[in-house]
């Protein structure tokens, strides 16, 4: 598939859209953590299913890329399967479930357990890009707050957590400060994954389709989770062992397995779990 007209429309997006999104991506990389507005297109899937992530992935994909798609850590849940099939069909790229073999990984709500490398791109699906949204509903105001670095309000949220629950109970979408400047919503990943973002060798791109925002963390960038001096950040996980592979250091899913309420814990990252098993 080269030197033909098909090159223009590789990976679903038309050329104008692809250029627009790539420009937004470059801007986002240049200003780590800053939310770049972009003219999000309608995708052939509902909002909330990763339309932002799909557009970012489509703008990044090249014919030689190998794509992995995960949903809540797993390769075989609905969202992951449908997006993987989508790109198999419209871009014809190779796909994989193996984290190490993928060059582009689109993810919903998890960062893979396996450490990523410099030649990989991690694309996050983001429902609400604005970390201050539920504290300050006016977008005009939150943009000024970002511009002037007025982030006291973010700590009000953490204060409320401690005063109600005795600890910082925010367990996902835990706010981070990127490159000592912008406060960023890491998308609804568990806070267990937050430390993986810090000085990550891979490029991290975030796409919010409905909200029309793209933001990014370049490789080897400082990403610090917010906390209080006397209530430091904790990358919490269930204090259990994976009952499939025996891992004790991974993020676990709690699964109800029968009608009597019996539960089991297993790795949420299915590829990692399989690799530990064999």
């Amino acid at each position: 598939m080269s030197n033909s007209e098909e090159d223009f429309n590789f990976a679903y997006l038309d050329e104008q859209t692809k250029r627009m999104i790539r420009r937004a991506l470059i801007k986002a990389i240049c200003i780590p953590g800053y939310q770049v507005p972009f003219a999000s297109r309608e995708m052939p899937m509902p909002y909330g299913w990763g339309t932002g992530g799909v557009q970012v992935t489509a703008a990044c994909l090249q014919e030689t890329d190998v794509l992995k798609v995960i949903d809540q850590g797993s390769d075989d849940t609905t969202n992951a399967v449908s997006i993987r099939k989508f790109f198999e069909r419209v871009a014809g790229v190779k796909t994989t479930e193996n984290t190490g073999k993928a060059s582009v990984i689109q993810t919903r709500h998890r960062i893979p357990e396996q450490v990523l490398s410099e030649d990989q791109i991690l694309v996050y699906q983001v429902p609400i890009p604005e970390p201050l949204r539920f504290l300050e509903p006016r977008e005009t105001e939150t943009r000024v707050m970002h511009a002037l670095e007025e982030y006291g309000l973010m700590h009000v949220k953490l204060y409320e957590d401690i005063s109600i629950n005795g600890e910082i109970s925010t367990a996902y979408a835990y706010p981070v400060k990127v490159n000592d400047r912008y406060i960023m919503d890491p998308s609804p990943t568990p806070k267990f994954d937050n430390p993986k973002m810090n000085f990550c060798p891979a490029i991290q791109l975030f796409g919010a389709g409905r909200e029309q925002r793209i933001y990014a963390v370049p490789p080897y960038t400082k990403v610090i989770s917010l906390d209080f001096e006397d209530y430091p950040f904790e990358a919490s996980r269930a204090e259990k062992t994976c009952e499939i592979c025996g891992a004790t250091n991974t993020y676990l899913d709690e699964v109800v397995i029968d009608d009597k309420g019996t539960r089991m814990f297993s790795c949420s990252d299915s590829d990692y779990c399989n690799s530990q098993k064999s």
Binding site: G152, Y159, S163
Partner: protein, 256 residues
Amino acid sequence: MEQILKAKAINKKFGDVYACNNLSIELYTGEVVGIVGESGSGKSTLLNCLSGSLVPDGGNITYLDRDNNWLDLLSLPEPRKRNLLRTEWAFVHQNPRDGLRMAVSAGGNIGERLMAIGYRNYSQIRAEATEWIEKVEIDAIRLDDKPSIFSGGMQQRLQIAKNLITKPRLIFMDEPTGGLDVSVQARLLDLIRSLVRELGLSVIIVTHDLAVARFMANRLIVMKNGKIVETGLTDQVLDDPQHSYTQLLVSSILKV
């Protein structure tokens, strides 16, 4: 006594109507100035111009900051202006909903300004919030309650605590007791007056209630149709009004 805020020839028009017509006022440290007048006389517009939430069409406003520098408020960069609003200034709104975050607990509301200026120690923020909620006569066990379940008077006191925690020097108040019943109003005024004395605050208070003005203000400014018609010591203005409008205003007070 030293001046803290100087406004010269403030103009603000809405369409063809002057809300502020060539107004000049000065405020001295530790002084409480009351602005009175009927609805639509331009009191609130003047207050909003002085506190930076409205940009006047003409005139100039200067403020003496903590480090003794005169700042030109109309040309002051936005970050510095917002910083002033969080640290050296306070604004008490008539409706506490405008000044509080209703979905955040009382403690979170009071602590917000501290977190905004860099406090990152939970216990310390909580201790100061507790101290302040008691100072405004709310029981400390209400610290984790949301202001939405507070009474109007408590919300107003909470708003005051939220504003005073960073020890501001200059407070703008827009009808702080409007909409409260008289007994609650009396206690609130008492509280504000003692805090003002204790902390040596400078205050500009807008009210249409002459009793509030008499109780709070050292000096009065009477406004009508965007102009200052009379100014002087509170007792002097209210006991011996010179301008016909002030005379009308004073004679309109209902006697019990």
